[in-house]
């Protein structure tokens, strides 16, 4: 049970999580230490639990991209006509997100068929701008690539961990619990130092990150296309706001440059 009082204090949330993770890991290491002392140390579910605890933090960036994290709260407080309008608009988006999330989490052998079905049932494809359909399918292609790479990524991490554990079980010679923990860390560290630099891991990580980025970018662009194309839409999209930021930044640079010319401080050119 998390003591939420901690979140009001100065301790970073990452530290809180890593402490909780390590408390669980330490309990498992204690059980393994007992097995070691009795001469019965072998790979078991305690090692599995350590792996799961240690690497769950690796999933954090992936969760950020899940459509589940962008569910819109249903409580709007003081409702009036404008909020009613907003609510129906948000609910439309909400149902769209839910539908998409449902399809994504239950991808069949042919995910594109599911989406073709979705477009036939829920959208008139000829009303949508072409870029929306293109972004939707590019996003899905990204997701499909991501899922396969992510499975491979998890497998590589697990295999490396298993290899390190096997070596640890074979070689461990410890006089006390602290030494036992240090030797375990050393074996894991040795193996991961090698794996994380390997060509296979680096290319896998690259493809996984890139496909995740493609998925997130194109799905966002798909929603933006839907919103930007709708003449009743009262909202600016991220891309529209970004364009405004870009222009403001360019203007600021021009003002700065002019000031420097006026004050004679523009960098000398070769």
């Amino acid at each position: 049970m998390i003591d939420y009082e901690l979140f009001k204090r100065d301790i970073p949330k990452e530290s809180i999580e890593l402490i909780f993770i390590n408390v669980k890991i330490r309990e498992n290491l204690r059980s393994l230490w007992e097995l070691y002392k009795s001469g019965n140390l072998e790979y078991n579910d305690k090692f599995e639990e350590i792996f799961n605890e240690m690497f769950k933090i690796f999933l954090r960036p992936l969760k950020l991209f899940s459509l589940e994290t962008i569910k819109i709260p249903k409580t709007y407080g003081f409702l009036n006509a404008y909020f009613d309008f907003l609510r129906s608009y948000f609910e439309y988006l909400q149902s769209l997100f839910e539908l998409i999330f449902k399809v994504i989490t239950s991808l069949s052998d042919n995910p594109f068929k599911d989406w073709e079905l979705y477009l036939e049932n829920f959208q008139d494809v000829f009303i949508l701008p072409k870029s929306a359909v293109q972004n939707l399918f590019r996003g899905l292609e990204g997701y499909e690539r991501f899922v396969s790479k992510y499975d491979e990524f998890s497998r590589v991490l697990k295999e490396s961990y298993l290899k390190a554990c096997r070596r640890f079980i074979q070689n461990v010679k410890a006089n006390d619990f602290d030494e036992f923990v240090n030797l375990f860390v050393q074996e894991i560290s040795k193996e991961f130092d090698r794996v994380l630099k390997s060509e296979n891991y680096v290319s896998l990580q690259k493809e996984m990150v890139e496909s995740l980025m493609d998925y997130a970018y194109h799905i966002r662009r798909y929603f933006e296309d839907l919103i930007e194309y709708n003449p009743l839409n009262p909202f600016a999209t991220i891309s529209m706001i970004d364009e405004a930021y870009r222009r403001i930044q360019d203007l600021k640079r021009r003002v700065d440059r002019l000031e420097r010319i006026v004050y004679g401080r523009f960098p000398k050119e070769d």
């Binding site: 003591d3 901690l6 204090r9 100065d10 301790i11 970073p12 949330k13 990452e14 530290s15 809180i16 890593l18 402490i19 993770i21 390590n22 408390v23 890991i25 330490r26 240690m54 690497f55 933090i57 690796f58 954090r60 960036p61 950020l64 602290d178 923990v181 240090n182 860390v185 050393q186 894991i188 560290s189 991961f192 130092d193 994380l196 630099k197 680096v202 290319s203 990580q205 690259k206 990150v209 890139e210 980025m213 493609d214 997130a216 970018y217 966002r220 991220i238 706001i241 970004d242 930021y245 870009r246 403001i248 930044q249 360019d250 600021k252 640079r253 401080r265 960098p267 050119e269 070769d270």
Partner: protein, 326 residues
């Protein structure tokens, strides 16, 4: 342990300072001191993490050491970029360094100052010093990434990244994601060993407090503006443009042959972020006749906050600076 954690108060910035200039995101800070030396020192920290690592708490504060030795200390704070800052470029950072250097020169009536860059702030400082060598009397580079073609895990990963895809999706590269990436570089030590050691020492209040100060800083990570991230990964990591003499700031070439001023390089031998090889080829390349490397057997952060580094390295570094600050 939880009860004790609740009692911990983390109050970084051990020394008093005032904000003397603000430019939207960027700030120039000036530390209060009894200045004994004529040449001021401007500290340029990285745009990743926060500059108060140099003033984390009074036991291990580099700033305090500078102030106690009579230096006039200034520092740039790059702030916490928001979505609105996505289109900042590295040239905007160099321009702000130039603004600050001019500001300090005017305030103190000096021609040139000591520029002290740390981590990616050292990269920015080196770029600045090559463009405006006349304004930099001494150049101090702490854990400087200047040769990006190294074989540490972080560099290998950075060389494989498509930064454009990341920045177009995220806008800015969030601090939370960077934190996780840094943990992934060395999971056994940074996720396991470090926290197992905390649990082992959970009854040692001083240990826990020092640990939490460090963690507070480690996880206080600002986002990197999208365009800056793209340029940093593509031009520095992928192409190693600075060392190759191919980097330019708004068409002004960064020529390392112009680094003729006195140069002090501080490196950590066990630095997994900026290993010694990231600095040594630069040291060999520059024409400065007054150059020195000081090193300590610590990691990237230990170089600044370990008591060992304070005992063995910082007094030498400060003596070097003082001799050239009269």
């Amino acid at each position: 342990m939880v009860d004790f954690l609740k009692k911990i108060e983390v109050k970084p910035w051990a020394s008093d300072y005032e904000v003397v200039h603000e430019d939207w995101l960027f700030k120039l800070l000036h530390f209060k001191s009894r200045q004994k030396y004529r040449i001021p020192i401007l500290i340029v920290y990285a745009f990743i993490n926060r500059p108060y690592i140099l003033d984390l708490h009074s036991d291990v504060s580099v700033i305090k050491r500078f102030l106690d030795s009579g230096l006039d200390v200034w520092m740039i704070d790059w702030g916490y970029p928001k979505r609105a800052d996505k289109f900042l470029k590295i040239s905007d950072y160099i321009d702000y360094i130039d603004f600050c250097v001019n500001f300090i020169r005017d305030e103190r009536c000096v021609e040139s100052i000591t520029l002290h860059g740390y981590c990616l702030g050292a990269t920015l400082s080196c770029i600045y010093a090559s463009i405006h060598p006349e304004k930099v009397k001494n150049l101090v580079l702490q854990a400087p990434p200047l040769n990006f073609d190294t074989d540490n895990t972080l560099a290998i990963w950075a060389k494989s990244i498509d930064a454009k895809k990341i920045s177009r999706t995220l806008g800015n590269v969030y601090g939370d994601l960077l934190n996780i990436a840094f943990l992934l570089v060395d999971p056994a030590r940074l996720i396991l060993e470090k926290y197992q050691s905390l649990l082992k020492n959970s009854n040692n209040e001083k240990f826990v407090k020092d640990f939490m100060y460090m963690d507070y800083w480690i996880f206080d990570s600002p986002s990197i503006p999208g365009y800056v991230y793209e340029e940093y990964i593509k031009r520095w990591y992928h192409r190693n443009e600075i060392l190759r003499g191919e980097y330019d700031v708004e068409d002004i070439r960064v020529d390392l042959n112009k680094i003729e001023m006195p140069v002090l390089i501080l490196i950590a031998e066990r630095d997994h972020i900026t290993p010694p090889e990231a600095a040594i080829p630069f040291y060999d390349l520059i024409p400065s006749k007054d150059k020195l490397i000081l090193s300590v057997d610590k990691g990237h952060i230990g170089l600044t906050v370990s008591r060992h580094a304070h005992k063995t390295l910082w007094h030498k570094a400060i003596s070097w600076i003082l001799e050239r600050s009269k």
